[in-house]
């Protein structure tokens, strides 16, 4: 049996019953990475030795029938923006190329406590800024469904690793769609939780009022299990919500009968790929066939979301990235005359083009004379976008839209036109501005064989509703059984 083919929950159940050992599971995935990653390029680093040692410890306990933690021996991949003690955390940036964190992010501690085993750190757009993973300083991560296409971004490495069965599940981060958009491009289940649901302690900050960590998974049950393992209050992140964590896996299976699905006209616009639109409309019909009630809703400020986002996110980024000064950690320029010169050269040499562009845009929007016209204006429009969702959710339980207006695009197609790249996030950004949770689930393929993502957005802290709705759809359709031909 090819263990790497199994879902996380299937592997978990086999290990729990003692039918598969943690070492076998880890070896299977490491062999898969060995065979494929030279082509897919999903990993920035693979921690094979440490993974095997951890698996051996669980195996020793399994042999003597000792009780194991729920995810004992489950091999997972972590986006390279989440701090892992003793394992390089580069953010796919030259400026952090050799950074070895002295501590773990809270999500990492929680996954370790649940028994999961770290396989490696995954590729991404530098500092999570991008929608194609082309902004990595190190490598070109490919879409497993078509190696000439991007995997999406910024969590492109995590999405590609899951889609290519190079891990049982992965974590990514989502500031404007960076979990859901690559999830959609790679045909997997990908969840951005409500802002505050998961601790951000140890996540290298991009835009602190928008960033959220979440799972990229082979199916919805796996996504529910991973969310349950990482969610909850953390005293080290005062923005993490002090609310009970429901049993997300137990919440699956409720079906769609009587569930009101809101369809916003603003998400079905001219310029959308016709095959994407057809697949999404068919998915909505399938959900209706399962008993869901279709309700038209309005999100009238959708067209302002991208401008709002790229002002808010870059302003926060310009402040957050001020810490890379070449003093305490990270790259420092070889030659500098004095301190300010050292800062400027370090940052000029250490950051890539998109990161520089966003620092510049954010600094400009916050600078004297422009603050009110750009930054404050964007904060006010953010209020309007948030109110759209509050009002829409008075009429429906979940909102259903495409994840992206197009399937995965080819390398280089948008890289020279930053504005075109920003527009790729048009359907995912609003959920971050409003702080609400969203899922991408595969809803079919284009004639060229590329996956299409269906997005399901929920009320704040109602991850159960979107997991359940997406799971009901997933179980009623054949898409999850198809795998890329690698």
């Amino acid at each position: 049996m090819d263990l790497y083919r199994l879902t996380l929950h299937e592997l978990r159940d086999l290990i729990r019953r003692g039918e598969v050992s943690p070492v076998e599971a880890v070896r299977s995935y490491l062999a898969r990475i060995d065979a494929l990653d030279a082509r897919v390029q999903a990993f920035n680093c693979v921690t094979g030795e440490a993974a095997l040692r951890a698996a051996e410890r669980y195996q020793a306990r399994q042999v003597v029938r000792e009780a194991l933690p729920p995810l004992a021996g489950i091999p997972i991949a972590i986006k390279d923006v989440i701090c892992t003690r003793g394992v390089t955390t580069t953010c796919s940036s030259r400026i952090l190329e050799h950074f070895v964190p002295p501590y773990n992010a809270t999500v990492m501690d929680r996954l370790h406590a649940a028994g999961a085993v770290l396989l490696g750190k995954t590729s991404m757009d530098e500092f999570a800024m991008g929608s194609s993973t082309e902004n990595s300083a190190f490598k070109k991560t490919r879409n497993p469904w078509n190696l000439e296409c991007v995997p999406g971004g910024s969590s492109g490495g995590s999405a590609a690793a899951v889609a290519a069965d190079m891990c049982a599940g992965a974590l990514g981060t989502d500031t404007g769609g960076s979990i859901r958009q690559p999830g959609g491009f790679c045909g997997i289940a990908a969840l951005k939780p409500t802002y505050g649901r998961v601790s951000r302690y140890g996540l290298v900050a991009f835009a602190s009022s928008l960033d959220q960590i979440g799972p990229l998974a082979k199916d919805l049950r796996d996504a529910a299990i991973l969310l349950g393992a990482i969610a909850g209050h953390d005293p080290k992140d005062s923005t993490s919500a002090d609310l009970p964590v429901p049993d997300y896996e137990a919440a699956l299976g409720g079906g769609l009968r009587g569930v009101k699905i809101g369809i916003p006209a603003e998400y079905f616009v001219a310029g959308m790929d016709p095959e994407v639109e057809a697949a999404v409309r068919e998915a909505i019909a399938t959900m209706e066939g399962l008993g869901a009630i279709r309700v038209p809703v309005r999100l009238p400020h959708t067209q302002y979301a991208i401008a709002t986002y790229y002002l808010v996110a870059t302003a926060e980024a310009s402040s957050n990235l001020g810490r890379y000064d070449g003093v305490k950690y990270g790259y420092r320029t070889e030659k500098s005359e004095h301190l300010i010169d050292m800062y400027m050269k370090t940052r000029g040499e250490g950051f890539g083009p998109e990161v520089k562009r966003r620092i510049m845009l954010g600094t400009y929007a916050l600078s004297a004379g422009y603050y009110d016209a750009y930054y404050l204006k964007a904060l006010k429009v953010r209020t309007l976008i948030r109110q759209d969702f509050t009002e829409a959710f008075q009429r429906c339980d979940v909102i259903v839209t495409p994840t992206s207006p197009t399937p995965a695009f080819r390398f280089g197609e948008k890289v020279d036109d930053p504005l075109q790249m920003y527009l790729a996030d048009v359907f995912t950004i609003s959920a971050n501005l409003a702080g609400v949770p969203g899922i991408s689930v595969n809803c079919g393929f284009t004639t060229a064989g590329l996956p299409v993502g269906l997005q399901i957005i929920g009320k704040p802290f109602d991850e159960c509703a979107i997991l359940n709705a997406a799971h009901a759809y997933e179980q009623a359709t054949p898409w999850r059984t198809r795998r890329p031909d690698l």
């Binding site: 050799h98 950074f99 070895v100 002295p102 802002y195 505050g196 009022s209 005293p235 005062s238 923005t239 919500a241 067209q303 401008a307 790229y310 310009s318 001020g322 070449g326 003093v327 305490k328 950690y329 990270g330 420092r332 500098s336 005359e337 004095h338 301190l339 300010i340 010169d341 050292m342 800062y343 400027m344 050269k345 940052r347 000029g348 040499e349 520089k356 562009r357 620092i359 510049m360 845009l361 600094t363 400009y364 600078s367 750009y374 204006k377 964007a378 904060l379 006010k380 429009v381 953010r382 209020t383 309007l384 948030r386 930053p418 504005l419 920003y422 501005l433 409003a434 702080g435 704040p460």
Partner: protein
Amino acid sequence: MAKITRAEVEHVARLARLALSEDEKERMTAQLDAILGYMDTLNVLDTTKVEPTTTVIPMVTVLREDRVQPCLEREEALANAPDREDVFFRVPRIIEDWRETDRERDSDGDRDSPVGNS
């Protein structure tokens, strides 16, 4: 009309402590101009009566007892430093830097007279 000039790009780059090559300044001016032009779409909205949203969660001041807790060992905290001396992070001279900055600013001043506390 251009939203942003090359001189403004240079000014913002100094504020952001970002050294840009001549080529980068050129590209950045054109790209930021296009992006800022797009941002103008927000101006059709009347937001005079709208409160800004800085965060989607209720902000409360989080307090804890003032108790000593475990923290990073000094060696761990220094381990990633690009340059160090003994138990310190080492950086280029700062006093000299002040002198340089003042000289640049004061174009009429006597360039040979010391300005910093030397």
